[in-house]
């Protein structure tokens, strides 16, 4: 079964700092990769996705992620965070079902 691990449980940073969240998955075959975001008290929303092609994908709100096949990784980045980026971030992998990592809580201090 597919497993997804997110390296950071809780990240605290100041506005304008850069953010990188690590994600690794276990399956070596073809997978679709995602980052979902859950703002406080809200439902999950798609941040970005990778199916194939350019391994550097851009999502909403200035986020991007890089797929590195040899490392089974799909790390999320944002060069300069804002207070409104405070949220729970979930990496997810789809083979026949969507499996989520445990999530990373990101707190951005003004």
């Amino acid at each position: 079964a597919q497993s997804v691990s997110q390296h950071n449980h809780h990240v605290i940073l100041s506005e304008a700092a850069s953010l990188e969240l690590g994600c690794n998955y276990s399956y070596g075959g073809t997978v679709n990769l995602f980052w979902y975001v859950q703002y406080p008290g809200q439902h999950l929303q798609l941040l970005l996705k990778y199916f194939s092609g350019d391994p550097l994908v851009k999502g909403i709100k200035g986020f991007e992620a890089e797929f590195i096949k040899s490392k089974f990784s799909f790390n999320l980045r944002k060069p300069s965070v804002q207070w409104s980026d405070t949220a729970e971030y979930f990496c997810a992998v789809f083979d026949y079902k969507l499996s989520f990592g445990a999530g990373t809580t990101v707190t951005v201090r003004a």
Binding site: N32, F34, Q38, Q42, H43, L44, Q45, L46, K49, F51, E88, F90, A92, V93, F94, Y96, K97, L98, S99, F100, A102, G103, T105
Partner: protein, 113 residues
């Protein structure tokens, strides 16, 4: 214009009771899901239906019974509620053809006392 809507949003009940959560999507999607998010925010798939047919059932106790009267609705009925059932339950839908791109409802927070 809510795409995936769930009712109720909050549910507080006693152990042993039976409760239902309803979900409707107006996106025209063929596949619907139930996910459970526990107190540590971990998300786990419970069920998936495609065009009213069950396609994923993830070792969920049979006290949980999903029902899909049509492809726009997926309801979750829970019998004999236990303390461990307390969680947020998210309904989601996706286009036909498995991709993993899901649209989630706002969640239903179930508290079992």
């Amino acid at each position: 214009d809510t795409a995936v809507s769930q009712t109720p949003k909050y549910l507080v009940t006693q152990m042993g009771n039976d409760k239902s959560i309803k979900c409707e999507q107006n996106l025209g999607h063929d596949t619907m899901y139930w996910y459970k998010q526990d107190s540590k925010k971990f998300l786990k798939i419970m069920f998936s239906y495609n065009n009213k047919e069950l396609i994923i059932n993830e070792t969920v106790p049979n006290r949980f019974s999903p029902k899909s009267p049509d492809k726009a609705h997926l309801n979750l009925h829970i019998n004999s509620l236990e303390l461990g059932d307390s969680a947020v339950y998210f309904c989601a839908s996706s286009q036909d053809g498995p991709t993993g791109e899901l649209f989630f409802g706002e969640g239903s927070r179930l508290t079992v006392l």
